[in-house]
Amino acid sequence: MKNELLYTAAFEELQQIVRDMEAGEITVDELSVKVKRAAELIAICKNKLSSTEEDVNLILKELEN
């Protein structure tokens, strides 16, 4: 669930940066920081698309309880 929140937040933050950019609300001063941040967020989201970190054993153990 934590991961879920993390990448939902990441996705929303990314969308916000893109919206800000399109609205011309990012200055040159912020640009490199924002682009760097956006790249991190993209990496988080893309990574999420192609991976899951579920521990099957954990689920099975919880099921037994």
Partner: protein, 462 residues
Amino acid sequence: MSENRQIFTLKQVVSSIRKTLEERYQQAYWVKAEMHKLNLYPSGHAFPELVQKENDKIVAQVSGSIWSHNFQRINRQFMVVVKEPLKEGTTLLLQVKVAFSETYGLSLQILDIDPNYSLGELQRERDETLHKLQAERLLNRNQQLNFPLLPQRIAIISADTSKGLSDFMKVLNNNPWNYHFFTMLFHAYLQGDMAVPSIIEQLKRIEKVKDHFDIVVIVRGGGGEVGLSCYNNYALCKEIASFPLPVLTGIGHSTNMTVAELVAFRNAITPTELADFLLQTFHDFSVPINDAGKSLRAYSKRLLEIHSQHFASETKHFKNSAHLYLNASKNKLVQKSQQFNAEAKTLILRKREALHFAQKESIAHTKRFFKIEKEHVLGFQLDLPQKLKALLDREKRNIQEAENMVNLMNPKNVLKRGYSITTINGKTVHGEMAIQEGDFIQTKTYDLEIESIVQKISKHEE
């Protein structure tokens, strides 16, 4: 015990009962009864138990029998009309004949079962489930949940032998975009009497570990439309509707959508379609991310270009402006200094002229002054003898006058004119002196000195 008692054999009795019953119940009857248990034997014959319940209590019970050929025919009709095989625990409309066997006793021989009645019953169950869920406000409960951005962790309720499951997994796992899903199978019966309890049980298990999953899917397929009536079961539908995770169904074709499909978060007609939908949600997430990457690049580039152009033009502008400003200042300076020079020259010239003029003026003045003074002196010179004489005459006159005055003032002259001077003890007499009668006074005239004694003193009025 009487001696003439009649003793029957058991066979005589049951034969008699059989005859009586056969005479009394010759025709077939339509009977509504619940098939409690089917009791299908390997021979193909079935011996179902028929009951009637009132308030969940059995108020009538009798055994039935269906011969193999009838059973097969009835089942075929059911599959065609109801899309379900004969099911235990349902109320059926049976065509029966009363049968009695000397060895097996009373039974109802089932000749036919009306599939349309059963279809109606199923429809009734479906309607009832819908009404109950609606009354409990559960119909849209599952659909009101938030669908996860990425439905990545999937709890699958299915059977490992199901064609639907393998279709579903194939689409998920062989997606060309390399999207990764985490799936866990929760095995359940997908049709028949065991379906409802086993699906409910698995839902309850999933609920225990719901934090590990984003969605639940129920997939089933390949079997056509047969056996879907369990998905109208109230208990199952309630479980699905109130489940804390979105439940998605892909349970196969149905001309009449089951309640489970209606209350599910989303219903896909086939497992394949359901898997495609999940992939689509991944696309929906992935596309904006890729777009974001593109627009980041494009926007950054554009922003930098705009700013560097702006900077270049500003620099150029600044250079021009500075140049212009310097030139203008230089020109102004030159102009000012020229102006200053000119003005200084003019001023010096003017001052020099003024000085020159003043010089001339002063010389002229001096000359004129001297001339006037000379004329004055000359005038004096000319006037001098005359003036001197006048002066001397005036002085002479003055002196004469003074002399006259002096002469007038001389006491001798005064005395000569008849005046006299009185003294007392050598001092002249005047008002304030304490002069008394009998004092001795001296009177001097022009030519005499008289001594006298004062006889009377009085003041005279003037």
